[in-house]
């Protein structure tokens, strides 16, 4: 049963990629060979969506790593109220991305969101940008929303890593005359590196599939500018019903992603073997 649900779709989708499967055309599925793949390669939106996915995933993961690391460092030593804060920090992890998108939509969208107003406190004059549609802002908003949800992920993993570093190492560094900054760069970071790699790998793989936040926040707009590959495939398959092309795109996307994942996972497994 489980096998059926995971193997059958794959076999079936392989067939779909080579025929013309289009709800608008009818029930005939003529064999078209590699046309579906070529359609994607010739589609400028496909290329822009791949680029957007790469940019968004990289910048989101970078922001999350930075924030998560800083937060983990800041929260490492205990203080009063720390337990409560910990609980609050991880809440976004248990939210549906749709909800996260909803939150930020309410917050950023003109005219209901207060975001413009808040920007107005720091910016001279009236601020009137739609943060989900104007200029570069949609990208910023998406990265921000993603970082809002997933920084805790980095934080939790890095905190676990940080607190497992033995204090003796810091003492040794201290005795050798290392300044705090030096002990961070020469003790903490190298020891944390494998864990950072784990966190980045998992986050990157998930971030590359970004769909829900796009759907609720920008709808891929303005135009097709914030189409991620996932959103593009959804659009091809479910809004234009070009299922053949969509499925072919899925395969291309999957293959690209597994190369990246393979590369990351191999580096991931190396320290374990050593």
């Amino acid at each position: 049963m489980i096998l059926a649900l995971s193997i059958f779709p794959l076999a079936f989708s392989l067939w779909v990629t080579f025929v013309e499967y289009d709800f608008t055309v009818g029930t005939e599925h003529p064999w078209v060979g590699l046309d579906n793949f070529r359609d994607n390669l010739n589609d400028p939106v496909w290329w822009s969506s791949v680029r957007v996915t790469a940019i968004l995933a990289t910048s989101a993961v970078a922001v999350e790593l930075l924030l998560g690391l800083l937060l983990a460092l800041a929260m490492l030593r205990s203080f009063r109220g720390r337990r409560v804060l910990m609980v609050v920090i991880v809440i976004p992890l248990f939210m549906s991305p749709v909800v996260v998108g909803g939150f930020w939509d309410l917050f950023l969208r003109r005219p209901i969101g207060p975001a413009n107003n808040i920007l107005g406190w720091f910016w001279p004059g009236d601020v009137a940008v739609d943060l989900t549609q104007d200029g570069i802002w949609p990208f910023v908003s998406i990265v921000m929303a993603d970082a809002w949800q997933w920084t805790p992920f980095m934080f939790v993993i890095l905190l676990a890593g940080l607190s497992s570093i033995s204090s003796e190492l810091y003492e040794a560094a201290d005795i050798d005359g290392a300044k705090p900054r030096q002990s961070f760069f020469f003790v903490t970071l190298p020891l944390l590196a494998p864990i950072i790699l784990v966190a980045v790998t998992f986050r990157f793989i998930d971030a590359a599939k970004l769909f829900d936040i796009i759907y609720t926040l920008t709808r891929g707009g303005p135009g097709t500018e914030t189409y991620t590959t996932s959103y593009f495939l959804y659009y091809q398959g479910f809004e234009r019903f070009h299922l053949g092309q969509g499925t072919a795109g899925s395969w291309m996307f999957m293959i690209m992603l597994s190369f990246i994942a393979y590369w990351l996972v191999r580096r991931l497994l190396k320290p374990v073997e050593a």
Binding site: P9, L71, L93, S96, V98, G102, W148, A160
Partner: protein, 305 residues
Amino acid sequence: MRLRPSSARRRGGEPTGGTASGVVRGRRRWGLVRFTFIGLYFLFLLLPMYWALITAFKPQEDILAQPPIWFPSDPTFSHFGSALNRLNGLTGIKNSLIVAFATTFLAVVIGAAAAYSMARFRTGGKHLAFWFLSQRLLPPVAVVLPIFLLYSRYSEEWLQVRLYDTRIGLVLLYTVFSLPWTVWMMYSYFRQMPPELEHAALVDGCSRWQALWKIAIPLAAPGVVSAAAFAFIFSWTEFLFAFLLTGTNAQTLPVLLAGYVGVFQGNLWGETAAMTLISLIPALVLGIFLQRHLVRGLTVGAVQG
């Protein structure tokens, strides 16, 4: 998440790195930076949540007020009412609950059996573990198209079951997708348990199944419970599959919410916020509860439990 008693690492031989007063000053400055950063992060974290919270309780005319109203004066529950009654809110909650509970149950039962056999009989060996990891890599969009075709066109023809827009269809799919998590989490627990206890039970005349249900599972209870919680969260928050594989009957909460945000732009902000808050309840409860198991759950497959 183990915590080390505070400041252990500062206790050592400090004076080597500068004058004593310099160290104190440096530490105080670090404290200031530290708490400013925590404060700013919490502002970032809580602001959208707070905004949604007050939007849910604002009367309609206050929602669009300029400048924005930060402290609503006369809160109202009308958005909750209309979201639940007029806008399918109750159906959504019911669907989500049924799907999430059924998935959790199936994923835990099947997962426990699979994890147990992997831990005790080495079923599948290394390949199975790799398969779990690879499941995580699969982008959902890549699988959803064929599953959509299967559900909407062929399931009735071939299998005589309707899967599109049914809760059964969703439960099946979610079970398959949450199994990697549940199996892995329970596997790491089973592996840590000494098999002698079960041997004793077998000697006393238990069957393998009884040994599993009466000895192994109660002992691995924390693992089982956190696996269940992860399965629940997964099916409670999943959007893409639910969105594409349901019509009106089996809509779950995230689908419903996305509909509010998208389609009726302009007058449903209060309702959106209200439903958002309702859908957060399990997240809050489980989030508090899951604290300790987070790391294991998040890195399923990569970190040996």
